[in-house]
């Protein structure tokens, strides 16, 4: 019987970074621990890009679409609550 292989330090770090990126405990994504370090890193990069793109598109749409009258209000909301 093959013995389970404990993830290398690099893989463990990459998994921790992915969990951080996904804003979840590392135990939640433990089933993905079988992925290689470079695969986990690539995945994190893809998700980071998707998050940034999503956030950027939302913010642009908000600022472009906001009527002049509501702009001060939007500005305050963004300052206080935008992640």
């Amino acid at each position: 019987m093959p013995q389970p292989v404990s993830p290398s330090t690099g893989s463990a770090t990459a998994l921790a970074r992915l969990a951080e990126r996904l804003q979840c405990p590392q135990t939640t994504i433990e089933p993905l621990s079988g992925l290689a370090e470079d695969e986990l890193r690539t995945l994190e990069t893809i998700i980071k890009h998707a998050q940034e793109q999503h956030q950027q598109q939302l913010r642009t749409a908000l600022q472009r679409g906001c009527p002049r009258l509501l702009q001060p209000l939007l500005h305050r909301l963004i300052q206080r609550h935008w992640p």
Partner: protein, 387 residues
Amino acid sequence: MSSLQARLELTKLARRLNISTQQLAALSSQPADNLRLLRRQSTLSLFHREHAFFHHLATILAPLPTPLLAALATRFGPRVTAQLAVALPSAYAAGLAARLSSELLAQTCLHLDPLRSRELIRHLDLSTLVRAACQLVDKHAFIELGQLADFLDDDAIQAVIAAIDDDRALLSIAYYMESRTRLDHIVQLMPRQRLERIVMNAADPANDQICEILALLSSVGYSLRSPLSALAADQPAQTLTQIILLSDRYQLWPELLPILTALNPERQRRLLALPVLLEQPSLLSHAIEAADQHGLWSSVLPLVPLMNNELVQTVAEQAARLPDAAIERAMTAALMGEQWQALAQVAQRLPADKQMLVRSIIVGYGAVDAELSERLQRLLQAYEIAR
């Protein structure tokens, strides 16, 4: 989990991350459960980051009359509208949706948070729902439509099915639905004639919907699977050959085998007599591997007595390559389903070492059930196995 489900999950994950499936090639060998987990976590991280912001914005905008809010939504566009819609009270958001143009409504659906839009979708009136569905069909947004279908009640489902006259689209929506039990229920709601037409069209490999139709037939309950599978199995031999070759290419044996089981013996015999199965032994090899990996020996064994000698011989040659543990699993299936005659037919064509393995397992049964072990040893003798 079959590779079909994993492939489905990979497609959905790629859509969620707005990339191509090729960019996720490193995940292609991951089980469907892992991909689903990753999709869920990605969805949470994508849609919930701005939750507090949109909650506050929705609180400020909620007192506005819906026509004014609809005008604002038109200015903001679909991404912002989608976030606002799930942050607003569902009934109010549904009123807003009813006032959006069909294009904006559909675009908004494409950007909805799937984990928080259930209540909103359930509050939409039928005409808004049908409008959104038809527009999404035009955009080939079948993943989103599948997600929508998961949330709809029976009346809404029937209205949407009636409004979508494209059978291929309907099958694609079913393919992407999350809940297989819900899918079974929805299929039961479909007019029988239409369902038959969908199966007949999709069973034609020229229409390139083999994955979709096998996923559907393997998901529905036996009462529907049997007659619908029969429709597909009554296609000309050339078509059936194509279905088998495509199923093999897309690794769809875990879906195909239970469908074969649902056919009557006459149809099963016809399929098993297709020359391609003898001409390309790798087909049977892949089918047997899939049966072992996916616990489908109980689907395969009843087919053996319907095979001609040549095909049983080919099955035995492929089975001989299996590890001993797989033979044990096949024997467990024979034990559970009383399929010993079928197993013996194959076993008598296995090499001597595998025959000895079969005998030793059967002798081992004696420790638990001496009568069974003796009966099976007599069967081995009758088939001249491991004499």
